[in-house]
């Protein structure tokens, strides 16, 4: 399985942007603001009540964050994240499809017990792969609740 889990959106102020997404598009916050020291970012997940995936609002931790330069260039749409059942196989597939692993699988602060890996292609598309697993931010859990 490889399914869109969330779209990453890089912002300066998460609470302000969350309010904007709530007012404009009816999103609801589904997590607290989580600090991820590995990704050097604060993140929060929002979802439309009937939506099948999330928006991840991302804000750099300080000026030394690896995300700060992207934010200085304007921020906004940042990456696509796909949830996968078999992370090593999905990594091999993306490598076969001319994408480069820029961060090997590591535990993700926002998804306890699950690993993430990062890829980039020649078109500069940034992709996060997220191992499927339990928890509130899980496509599998969302699917079970709906069935």
């Amino acid at each position: 399985m490889l399914a869109l889990h969330h779209v990453g959106y890089l912002v300066d102020n998460i609470p302000l942007t969350a309010r904007s997404f709530e007012a404009r598009f009816g999103y609801v916050a589904e997590s607290l603001i989580i600090t991820d020291p590995v990704q050097t970012a604060h993140v929060q997940f929002l979802r439309q009540p009937e939506g099948g995936n999330w928006i991840e609002l991302i804000s750099p931790i300080g000026n030394e964050s690896k995300l700060s330069s992207s934010l200085r260039k304007g921020g906004g749409l940042h990456h696509l994240c796909y949830e996968v059942t078999d992370l090593p196989t999905a990594c091999e597939k993306l490598r076969d499809e001319q994408m480069l692993m820029i961060c090997s699988p590591v535990p993700a602060a926002a998804f306890p017990g699950r690993n993430i890996a990062w890829f980039m292609g020649r078109d500069r598309l940034l992709v996060e792969l997220l191992e499927s697993g339990p928890g509130p931010l899980s496509l599998i859990n969302m699917s079970k609740k709906r069935s």
């Binding site: 480069l100 090997s104 980039m120 020649r122 500069r124």
Partner: protein, 78 residues
């Protein structure tokens, strides 16, 4: 066409600099705009140009043209 010249073509396209002149001494510290994102583009374009695939460890250490030439050599590209 020499390997260095083929790399120069790649760098010019990735960095959008038609006048860029590459030498074995070119590196991230002396080539304008050669950042981590550019490295990804350069590595993928180099793999495509020479029909090889670098390992993750090989890619992690690329900081200069000399690094790329060494890795190409280890893949049989002289």
């Amino acid at each position: 066409m020499s390997i260095l010249h083929r790399l120069e073509m790649i760098f010019r396209e990735v960095l959008d600099d038609r006048s860029l002149e590459l030498t074995e001494g070119s590196s991230v510290s002396n080539v304008p705009n050669w950042d981590s994102v550019a490295t990804v583009q350069i590595v993928l374009a180099t793999e495509s140009e020479f029909g090889i695939r670098f390992t993750t460890d090989e890619i992690a250490g690329i900081k200069s043209v000399s690094d790329i030439l060494q890795r190409l050599k280890s893949h049989g590209v002289y």
